[in-house]
Symmetry: none
Subunit: 404 residues, 2 copies
């Protein structure tokens, strides 16, 4: 949906909206013939399925398996195909770094370069957060500017960091320098489109790598770095301004904080915490916010590991916390995933994602349990992920009538 159109219909009110994303929650039937969601004992989620309206969303398009970035971008109402965000920008956005429009961001992976010029460790021995931060600071003290362009450095986690080039018109259409295999020489950064902006960006990146190599020469492990996922920061239309509400995100992983921050939500710093801690944060910020995005990571992790029993357990654990969400009396409570991560595939997949919206004004359907098979008869049918936000606004009474 056109966001200007949607935004033009917004009327603020006192309602509270909660969007719970159980990452990768959708699945395929296991040996029992039931999915993880169906195998889990979920009395509280089932009660919400009964109370609300159920169905599915397609994250990007029919048959398309999304990464976490596009999957969340769609749930937040933005076109995930037009708004593809590169890893350099996504990862950096998960840190406190303040982007400016036009910044060119790249992931940095610290690595170990052998004497023969080949990469001997693509993760520099998985150096600690402390060591990673130290080498980032060392680089930042020595490389501040290249050819008139400001160079900003940001530590992300362990051996991962980001470089941001600011102050010139640059393109992110560049190849990674990571050869993806140990025993190979690092690659030069090469433009993958014509034009001065990509040519200059590649030059800057290659010069940065050369200078960084000199700065890091005496490091025992992180004596080199590789650049990946170049992208130019192009701000998304602000989620809070578009819908005239105070929106916050509660998430434990940088990636999900990053995508919420790119949308303009206030990210509540939770660190690597438990679901209980996340719930406590939601309770804490409740009064000051109208929209809260709560991200539950472990459903996806278990799916990626192919751990069916583990995924069931995470779902049951979350179910046990659902009464705390219900007790807050949100006007609209939406429970869904960003994509499916079937244990059978050990990866993200294209399968439509269960979606349940609970609100006093939701048209009820006959769904009595929270799961893929039950939701097939749900009243929402199958919508695109970008339809979810308009539905939340509508059920919250935050959209006026269109036209006379």
């Amino acid at each position: 949906m056109d966001l200007d159109f949607l935004s033009s219909l917004v009327v603020p009110n006192e309602s509270k909206v909660v969007l719970v994303v159980m990452d990768g929650v959708g699945g395929l039937a296991g040996p029992s013939g039931h999915t993880s969601l169906e195998s889990a004992r979920t009395p509280n989620l089932d009660a919400l399925a009964l109370a609300g309206i159920c169905g599915f969303h397609d994250p990007v398009g029919t048959g398309i398996t999304p990464g976490s970035g596009p999957a969340h971008i769609g749930l937040f109402g933005y076109d995930p195909i037009k708004r593809l965000i590169g890893r350099g920008v996504l990862d950096t956005a998960g840190t406190p770094f303040e982007f400016a429009s036009g910044d060119l961001a790249s992931r940095l992976n610290f690595a170990t370069l052998a004497a023969d010029g080949t990469i001997s460790d693509r993760r520099a021995g998985r150096i600690s957060d402390e060591e990673g931060l130290r080498v980032v600071q060392k680089l930042a003290a020595r490389i501040k500017e290249i050819d008139g362009v400001e160079v900003l450095l940001q530590h992300v986690k362990e051996y991962r960091a980001a470089a941001i080039f600011r102050g010139a018109k640059l393109s992110g259409k560049l190849c990674d320098s990571d050869p993806q295999q140990v025993g190979k020489k690092p690659l030069s950064v090469v433009p993958i489109e014509d034009g001065e902006e990509a040519r200059r960006a590649a030059e800057l990146a290659n010069e940065f790598i050369e200078q960084a190599q000199k700065v890091l020469a005496d490091e025992p492990r992180a004596n080199f770095l590789m650049m990946r996922g170049f992208d130019v920061y192009d701000p998304l239309p602000d989620f809070c301004k578009l819908y005239d509400w105070r929106a916050a995100a509660v998430a434990t992983y940088p990636m999900y904080k990053g995508v919420a921050r790119l949308a303009g939500m206030k990210v509540i710093e939770a660190g690597q915490q438990s679901m209980e801690d996340e719930l406590a944060l939601v309770e804490k910020i409740w009064d000051e916010h109208d929209f809260i995005f709560l991200h539950i990571k472990k459903t996806d992790s278990m799916g990626e590991d192919g751990n069916f029993a583990g995924k069931v357990e995470v779902i049951e654990h979350f179910d046990s916390l659902v009464p705390r969400l219900v007790a807050l009396k949100p006007d609209v409570l939406c429970l869904t995933g960003d994509h499916s991560t079937p244990c059978a595939l050990k990866s993200h997949s294209w399968h439509p994602v269960p979606l349940c919206i609970v609100a006093a004004n939701a048209r009820r359907d006959a769904c009595e349990s929270f799961g893929e098979t039950a939701f097939l008869t749900g009243g929402l049918g199958r919508v695109n992920s970008t339809d979810v936000l308009p539905l939340l606004l509508a059920h919250a009474g935050r959209l006026r009538k269109y036209g006379a």
Copy 2:
């Protein structure tokens, strides 16, 4: 879905995909309250419905009744509204004729002109293939070029042929010369858009008709011809290149071979053969192809005839051959139609078309029988025909994850 986007996600693998199109298979309930599909005894199709995921596709758009061209174009993943292909091009593509980009093609119908200048038989007494071919050759020997534009002639079937103008920038926006009724005079070909390209094309067509009339003057039956369905050949993006697979089509009618050929599939010449012969061809070409489109014509013919029992019989006949397809162990087996042809309407219709996808990684639903009513609760819901190909690619593991 944007084809460049879809194509950018393709990763080739060893999987085999079969798309079975039972032409016009969708229907309406007969006196028994069941459709032809539901009335037919189809244990093999029912087993596939149970094993796979079911639903419907809309061939062009909600409420739109498609011709066979657009219906197949959509199933092959192209936008059937943007990519309307005129009958002149479609029919010619069903022959071995080799198009060049920019060719202007028109169907030719041989006809009988009475002494008073009116059409006395619009099909020239339904002359045989042999006679049709003979008059085409006679014309081709005498008319090779008009006003510097090359004229190519191709026999299609019986009284039907095609004329192709090559070597000038021409438009296909022209009226037919067929008055559609006997006892009327043939029409002049008139441009239906402004501009030199349409004006010149109309002049060429009228001059061709005049010259052809002289060449055919001594023919007892085919002493005249009419031109219909003008269109300029504009190649579709190549199906094999877009999806990086070896695609083949097995079909008995020229129209379906034509549309597959226009998409870039290899057309396996089957002639006017039985379903058994078609199955044998699929088996024969199995090892050398990754995608096979199998077209079953007679479901539609029976629908067009309003022959409910006949349609049931064709479906049961096809069902009896399904085990041969299953025995090939395709990774993805899709069973659908191009459109509905309800016996009650004796014509194509707008009703959504049953769709079943069988694959190990399909999310199962509760459908246990192959038919319109059962599929209403299917897991695919209702998709657009252009979503079918992305779904086949996804289930075949041929699409990489989109975005980080």
